[in-house]
Amino acid sequence: MSAVATDSVALAPTDYLLHLADNALVLGQRNAQWCGHGPILEEELALANMSLDLVGQARLLYDLVARRAADGSTEDTYAYWRDASQFRNYTLLELPHRSPLVGYAQGDMDFAITVMRNTLYTALMVPLWQQLCDCSDPDLAAIAAKSLKEAQYHLRHACDWLVKLGDGTDSSRQRMQGALEHLWPYTAEFWVSGKLEALARSAGLLVDGAALESSWNAIIDAVLEQATLTRPPAPEGYVSEGKVGVHSEHLSFLLAEMQSLARAHPGAQW
C-alpha cells in the first residue's frame, strides 16, 4: 500500500486521526439512513453520494492509523471492532434525525435536522481541512487536500437547502429554526480545548483554534442571515464530550446496526 511518512516530520496523534475518521464514519452512517426514505429522489442520491464521500474519508484515515500501528489491524478493526466509548466523534453527529418538533410516536426523520447538522459540521470541516492541507504530517495533508474538495461541495449543498427551507414557508422556517435551536448546544463541543487538542499540539500538529472558530462563525452567520433564521444565544450548561469517548445513548444503537454483520462473521473476507 502507500508509503508511510518517516520520523523526520511531526505525525498526527492516533486519537486525533481517529477523531477525524469517526466524525466522517458516524455522519456518513447517519445520513445513509435516508436511503429509501429520501424526501425526493434527487436528495436520496445526494445524501447517499455524500455519505459515500464521508465513508471514503474515514477509510483513508483508518487505513493510515492501521498502517502506522503496524500491528495487523486494518480499517475494519477500527470501524467494526471498537465500541461506543472508543469512538471519538462529536456527539452532534450521532444524534438521530429527530427534533422536538417531530413526535416520537411517528419515529419519523426530520429533514430540517439533517440539513442543519450537515451545515454546522461542514462549515467546520472546510476551514479545518484547509488548515490541515498545510500541516506537518504529509499523509494527513494529502487526505486533507482530497477531503477539502468534497467538504466544499457538501457545504454548498447543505447551505442551498438551508436557505431554501429557512427562507421558505412559515412551516419550513419554523422547523428549520427548531432544528437550529435543538442542535446549537452541541456545537459548543467544537471549541472546547481539551485532551485531544493538547495531544495534537504536543505532537506539533498546530491547528489555529481561534481562526477556525472565526471562519465557522462567518459562514454560519452568513447562511443564517440568508435563510432568515435567528442565531441562538451562546450555549450554556453541559457541553457534550463525544470527542473524548463520552457519548449520548444514540451512538451504541447506530454502531450495533453498522457493526452487526462484521461481528456475526468475524474475520470474513469478500
Partner: protein, 170 residues
Amino acid sequence: MPQEESIWTLLEQVSDPEIPVISLLDLGVVRQVKVDAQGWLVVITPTYSACPALSQMADDIVSTLQRAGWGPGRVQTQLAPAWSTDWISPRGRDRLREYGIAPPAPIHSQASDGARVLHFLPRKPLAESVPCPRCGSEQTTQTSRFGSTACKALYRCLSCREPFDYFKPY
C-alpha cells in the same frame, strides 16, 4: 527504460471498471511505473476518496501484468497531489463523448466553489454549458447534480430530448 515502457503499453489495456471505453492512462490515474529489485511497481491515484472502483483497478493492473508474464510486483496508491478531472487526456474525453458521457469542463473555467462559500446561489449549474454528447447542442439542462456514480451528474438535452451523464469537474 524499455521494461517500464512495456508496462505503460500494457496499462493501455486496463480500462476503468465503470466506463469500459476509457483506459486508466486516459483517466490520468497512473502516476508512476518503476521496475526494481523487488519487481514492478505501479503507482495510482484515487479519483474520489470513496471511489469503489479503485480496488478493482488495482486488481485489474495486477492480473493484466501477470497475464503478460510479469512476475511479482505491487500497486501503490498515492494521494498527493490530488487527482483532478483536468488530468483526463484529450483522447479520454473523446472516448467519453462517443460513449454518451459528456466530458468534464476544465476546472479553471469554474467559479471556485471554495473561495466563495459565503455567497450562496440556489442551484448553481456545474458548468457554463454542457454540450450534448449525441447531437452537440448547447441547449442542455441539469436534471440532478448526483447521478449513477459519485463522479457523474444527470443532464438532458433540450434539442434531441435524450438524457445523458455528465462527468463532473473535480
